[in-house]
């Protein structure tokens, strides 16, 4: 009993449980869900598909986790994704003969750099001007798609330069899609920083009580600033993957509502939206769970427009289970039951 309680109270229990439930359901409902085929040295299958799509969300949620841990939120990520795609595609150019105006590496770097500037903007508003994070990032959310439109001059740029598509798909000869490597690299970087430095602890301190953190000598402004820049860069990398998947810049639809999914992943992973303790592993599993849910529902024939209903049900259920008050109500009920049993 004690052991069971220890397991269920772990922050990873809920996301892992949800994911396991989904996978078990799929094992029965969708034939061939777990089968993986090898074609030309590449792996194909539903699982790979899920991981491929989830990679974007994982990268996004890494940035979001840190921002939320400082007690903030970044709702401009979706728009920044659009900006990133626009910058990269604009620099590479839409030459139909498949040549690039600029080396791929330079274009990608420029895109991420522009997104870092977006992060600087958000960080400046939040940490220097002390504007509420949601309002501060609302500005870029509103303007971002307009800026992306300005860059592409109001059109979708289709890129015919072949290597560009490798980012969102596979490099010939590699067994797994590139997105998975990128996500793994970002996660590795985050974990390394967290293990080897005390940045994670600083962030947590800021999220729990910024004033107290400041009085113990932490540079709160700088910490918050850096986290928004990191979030912007994550959105930039995610934008590269997203636009590479469709080999085009689509300012209107790229990354639409992605920030909501990222926030969901973080919440699902056990990190409270009020800041403080955060769980990198939880966010990753949260992201995979959301993508699995999406893919499962698609497989069941739910259309993309109807999908949100099910997502909403999942969100409410998870948040209810995390709510302290809900836990108390349940505990009281079970206590009453025990008392009743004793009285009998």
């Amino acid at each position: 009993m004690e052991k069971w309680k220890k397991i269920t109270s772990s922050h990873l229990f809920l996301p892992v449980f949800a994911l396991a439930l989904l996978l078990i359901f799929n094992a029965f409902a969708t034939p061939g869900f777990f089968s993986i085929e090898v074609q030309n040295g590449q792996l194909f299958g539903r699982i790979i598909d899920i991981l491929n799509r989830a990679s974007i969300l994982i990268v996004l949620s890494m940035g979001m986790t840190f921002v939320i841990a400082t007690g903030g939120i970044d709702i401009s990520q979706g728009s920044v994704i659009a900006i990133s795609g626009a910058v990269c595609c604009y620099l590479i150019g839409g030459a139909t003969d498949g040549t690039a105006q600029m080396p791929l590496f330079v274009a990608c770097l420029a895109a991420v750099a522009v997104c870092a500037v977006c992060g600087v903007w958000n960080g400046f508003l939040v940490s220097k001007l002390k504007i509420q994070p949601m309002v501060a990032t609302l500005i870029l959310m509103t303007a971002g798609r307009g800026i992306a439109m300005l860059i592409t001059e109001g059109q979708n740029i289709t890129v015919y330069y072949k290597p560009f598509t490798y980012i969102g798909n596979s490099i010939p000869g590699s067994p797994l899609p590139t997105t998975i490597y990128i996500a793994a690299a970002v996660v590795l970087l985050v974990v390394l920083i967290q293990k080897k430095t005390s940045v994670g602890m600083f962030v947590q301190a800021v999220g729990i009580n910024a004033e107290a953190a400041r009085r113990t000598g932490l540079n709160v402004t700088a910490i918050i600033f850096i986290m928004y820049i990191f979030s912007g860069m994550c959105a930039g990398v995610a934008g590269l993957m997203e636009s590479s998947m469709i080999a085009a810049a689509d300012p209107n639809n790229a990354g639409l509502n992605m920030e909501m999914d990222a926030i969901l992943s973080v919440a699902l992973g056990g990190t409270l939206l009020t800041g403080g303790r955060f769980y990198i592993g939880g966010s990753i599993i949260g992201a995979i769970t959301i993508q699995t849910l999406t893919t499962t529902l698609y497989a069941l024939g739910v259309s993309s427009e109807q999908l949100p209903v099910y997502k909403a049900a999942v969100v409410i259920l998870i948040c209810l289970l995390q709510s302290e008050k809900f836990k108390k109500i349940i505990e009281r009920k079970s206590l009453n039951q025990k008392k009743a049993v004793k009285q009998v």
Partner: protein, 334 residues
């Protein structure tokens, strides 16, 4: 000299400072418009600002209530879409009258607000997450009712939609505008003169203080979300009068426009401060920018978004400075 500075500080810290700036900006923009384009001289252009934005005005009133208590509701746009779709579906496939259908959808809006408010207060869940789920839910439900456009052809409905109320010989407004203005006036009066309104301000100022004073914080909070749900549904009715159809992608992102309007009109996102007539100006300023861009013709539509964001930015930064100033003034008073 010190006195002058004190006066200036006091002016900046005044509740109506943002409102004043917004009003000034609106008049300046309108005068610039009148000097550059002959069309701006027509009274109808002014009325069109209201006609085009009637739904947004109502939605902004709703979000202002929620922002006042320091909460947020991002389900507005989806509820508007759900309302349009439900109305269209009921009118097309049942023989209920337009009046009954309107009452039903308004009740749905109230119920939506009630559930959201209950979840937020009863389980201490975050307003952002709950209303995000609400947004997903309403949008998805709209698509489940129908993925295609359903046109509204009910004769009463179309008659109300095309009705023109002349306020001047050459200028008319729509029924939607009348509903919007009534909503605005009622909201202003409720906030100013009723117990419920004062409870909302108290709750927004400090929840724990309000609770210690013995105010019914829980029921006030739920009621506030119900007001917002009702306003969203009402905005949906007005929106459907303009669109005369239900479609799953109606009013995407309207909540963000409403929040922006409310903030530009002087609402503080941290709660406790708002002036409802100011939010009207927030909507009208967005409208006037759109009118400018339509009149100019060469500017592309995305400039609207960028300019609105810029305005939003200016106002938010200004608010940040006001709040800091007010803090300084109150502490120096001691």
């Amino acid at each position: 000299m010190k006195n002058v500075k004190g006066l200036k500080d006091r002016l900046v810290a005044s509740r109506y400072f943002s409102f004043g700036i917004t009003a000034f900006l609106f008049i300046v923009l309108y005068v610039i418009g009148m000097m550059n384009y002959r069309g701006f001289l027509k009274p109808q252009v002014f009325c069109n600002l209201f006609i085009d934005n009637a739904a947004l005005i109502i939605a902004t009133v709703g979000i202002t209530f929620v922002l006042l208590i320091g909460g947020i509701d991002i389900s507005i746009g989806s509820v508007v879409a759900l309302t349009c779709m439900t109305s269209a579906q009921l009118l097309a496939n049942t023989n209920l009258g337009a009046g009954v259908v309107t009452v039903i959808v308004l009740a749905i809006g109230l119920l939506f607000g009630l559930v959201q408010g209950w979840l937020i207060t009863e389980f201490d869940m975050q307003p952002f997450i709950v209303t995000l789920a609400g947004q997903f839910f309403a949008r998805g439900l709209t698509a489940i009712i129908s993925r295609e456009t359903i046109d509204i052809t009910d004769p009463t409905y179309t008659a109300v939609a095309s009705a023109r109320v002349y306020i001047m010989p050459k200028a008319f407004i729509s029924v939607g505008v009348i509903i919007a203005i009534v909503t605005l006036v009622v909201a202003t009066l409720v906030l100013k003169y009723t117990r419920f309104g004062r409870n909302i301000y108290a709750l927004g100022g400090s929840e724990s203080s309000a609770q210690l004073m013995g105010l019914p914080t829980k029921s006030t909070k739920i009621a506030t979300y119900m007001v917002c749900g009702f306003c969203s549904a009402l905005a949906g009715v007005v929106y459907s009068l303009i669109m005369l159809s239900g479609y799953p992608l109606h009013a995407v992102g309207m909540e963000m426009d409403a929040i922006a309007s409310s903030v530009i009109g002087g609402t503080l996102m941290s709660g406790g401060v708002a002036f409802v007539p100011g939010t009207l100006l927030g909507v009208l300023i967005q409208g006037i920018i759109q009118t400018f861009i339509t009149f100019e013709g060469t500017l592309s539509a995305w400039w609207t978004r960028i300019i609105i964001a810029l305005l939003l930015c200016v106002f938010i930064v200004m608010q940040a400075i006001i709040v800091r100033n007010r803090h300084r003034i109150t502490s120096s008073d001691k």
